[in-house]
């Protein structure tokens, strides 16, 4: 069976949020910008320390929503004109009753493209081969720093200095 190659680096675990934030800031100041930070819930302090940009998910949502509206309009109009049936002198194709279909398809396509976006965008930074600890989904924050063996010592001491409760090497 395929086994992902382990990424060499150092994994630090933190019980205190301020310690983890200090460690992230210290690591980034030393040029370690390719960090992977684990947490059980999203945390604004961690996001600010990592200086993340706003996710591109919103573009997918927008495109999905617009596609849904367009598909709804195109489908209702085209099918009405494909077999025109005149009922009670009313227009063959008209927007007001089709707004419902357009709206529903906007929500449907928008929601599905949003979820697809998370899957696709998360693939840009895969987690396979990167050290992990099950306690990160419980009550600890984890910081994985990819680095070669010759820089691991510096990273370890920085993590310990920041207040890490456990530091280990992944090779």
């Amino acid at each position: 069976m395929f086994k992902a190659k382990t990424v060499p680096g150092v994994l630090g675990s933190f019980a205190h949020i301020d310690s983890a934030v200090d460690a992230i800031k210290g690591l980034r100041a030393r040029g370690h910008t390719d960090l992977t930070v684990y947490s059980a819930a999203p945390n604004h302090e961690l996001e600010e320390a990592l200086e993340h940009k706003i996710s591109a998910v919103r573009l997918f949502t927008l495109v999905g929503g617009l596609t849904g509206v367009s598909a709804g309009l195109a489908m209702t109009y085209w099918t009405s004109l494909d077999w025109p049936l005149l009922v009670g002198g009313k227009p063959i194709a008209t927007v007001p009753p089709y707004v419902v279909i357009m709206f529903e398809l906007m929500v449907l396509f928008g929601a599905l493209s949003t979820v697809t976006a998370v899957a696709l965008l998360s693939l840009r930074k895969p987690t396979t081969g990167i050290a992990y600890d099950p306690r990160y989904s419980d009550d600890l924050v984890g910081i994985f720093v990819p680095c070669a063996a010759d820089r691991a010592g510096d990273v370890e001491s920085l993590l310990k200095q920041a207040g890490s409760v456990e530091v280990r090497r992944a090779a």
Binding site: A41, P42, S55, T76, E104, Y136, D138
Partner: protein
């Protein structure tokens, strides 16, 4: 009694332990519950078998009442789902802290209620094996569905609502399933590991996830308002007296939320006790749910009054007759059951003592469930039964085939919900943790 605090008082580790603790070995009571809902479902399946074998003649359809218990129950279950989306999506956008402990259960209720509702158009149409004719593709003569029909709008609304609600539920579950994966062992770890879809809670995953969750909530919010509006237009677009009202959309949406919160009480009050979650789902949450019930109950009270007022004020003899007969005709008992259970019983919730008394809330919730089923029964059956010409008036009496399918629907819903709460976290671990500040080495800032 558990304290009514706004924020959870546990640590992150305690939240994980307590919620995952609910997934342990099932008790005898759980198996009894599972047996009861399975038996109810079996009754529904047997009834459905006879409906397929012999036709809809077994049901109580009597001209001119050709929509009756099945459409009533369809609207009832669609409505139940609405409270779930209100709590999970709309209150998320409003940042209401009290939603966190209850939203997972209500969202699961939404998905299972819509799954239940979706069965009813199929049961109702007769010749159920060609139900796919409802889907918009051209028939043998290349004739397309009529997109100006509210029934076709409803197909789109319900399908979208089911898809988006299910997506929202599963999406919200992913981090919690990963938390379960990290706590269990053996084959369960493998199964939860597969269901967690590789979730590890990295900063990159949270960055996209949090945004996506916000957008899903933003999309689900107008969706939930649209769905019951569209359901109401199934009736309001017709010219039947008693149906043809402009207030139907907000009236139905308020009623849907009211009935849904009623079902939340019915499910959560015993469940929190059975799963020992009294310290997480507290009277604080029920107090707020009670306020929501009171608000929607008052909107319903107003809508009921306005229906009668408009019928009188319009001077339209057909409307006036329908509403007179709704109160004093042969279905008076159903008409008053709806008004008493919905408009009047909800007024008890003005009192905080009632909103924080779980026994009282449970009893009120049963009244709400019954009242809201009768609301739809009255709107559908009494209106159809009092058509324009008195010689065509008629009544239908539900038969064993109507009650069998109704009971089966509770079995179907109950089976899914019972299986869900024993296999997935019924309280959102990740969102509760988000509300609890992580410990600080340097003290609070």
């Amino acid at each position: 009694m558990a304290s009514a605090t706004q924020h959870p008082t546990q640590t992150h580790a305690e939240v994980t332990r307590d919620v995952i603790g609910t997934l342990g070995t099932p008790t005898r009571g759980y198996y009894i519950l599972l047996g009861c809902v399975s038996a109810a479902l079996a009754v529904g399946l047997v009834t459905f078998f006879f409906l397929v074998k012999d036709g809809l003649g077994h049901a109580g359809y009597t001209p001119p009442v050709m929509w009756s218990v099945y459409i009533t129950t369809f609207v009832f279950w669609v409505g139940i789902g609405h409270a779930g989306t209100l709590i999970s999506a709309i209150l998320y956008l409003f940042r209401s802290p009290w939603r966190t402990a209850v939203y997972r259960a209500t969202e699961a209720m939404t998905v299972f209620a819509v799954m239940t509702a979706a069965l009813f158009p199929i049961v109702h149409i007769g010749r159920q094996w060609i139900f796919y004719w409802l889907i918009p593709y051209p028939n043998a003569r290349f004739l397309w569905p009529n997109f100006k029909s509210p029934l076709v709008w409803d197909v789109f609304a319900i399908t979208t609502y089911f898809t988006v609600s299910t997506t929202f539920l599963i999406f919200g579950l992913i981090p919690d399933v990963a938390a379960v994966r990290d706590k269990v062992s053996g084959w369960r770890q493998k199964v939860y590991g597969m269901l967690a879809l590789g979730w590890k809670g990295t900063d990159e995953q949270w960055r996209h996830y949090s945004r996506a969750y916000l957008y899903l909530a933003a999309l689900a919010t107008p969706l939930v308002l649209s769905v019951h509006s569209v359901v109401s237009w199934d009736f309001a677009m017709g010219i039947i007296p008693g149906w043809h009202g402009t207030i139907f959309a907000p009236y139905f949406v308020a009623g849907a939320i009211y009935s849904g919160v009623g079902m939340v009480f019915t499910l959560l009050i015993p469940l929190r006790r059975a799963l020992k979650l009294e310290h997480m789902i507290t009277t604080y949450h029920f107090d707020n749910l009670g306020k929501l019930t009171l608000l929607t109950g008052c909107i319903l009270f107003y809508a009921y009054g306005m229906e009668y007022f408009v019928a009188w004020y319009s001077g339209n003899i057909f409307e006036q007759t329908t509403f007179w007969r709704r109160a004093f005709g042969p279905m008076w008992w159903a008409g008053w059951a709806m008004i008493i259970c919905n408009a009047f019983v909800a007024q008890l919730l003005w009192f905080r003592k009632v909103r924080t008394n779980l026994t009282a809330l449970f009893v009120i919730s049963i009244f709400i469930n019954i009242g809201m089923w009768f609301e739809r029964y009255v709107i559908i059956v009494s209106s159809l039964g009092n058509d324009f010409d008195p010689w065509a008036w008629g009544l239908m009496n539900p038969t064993w085939a109507d009650w069998g399918i109704l009971l089966g629907s509770f079995g179907w819903f109950g089976l899914w919900f019972t299986l869900f709460f024993k296999h997935f976290p019924i309280v959102a671990i990740q969102e509760i943790k988000e509300m609890i500040p992580m410990p600080r080495r340097k003290g609070a800032h």
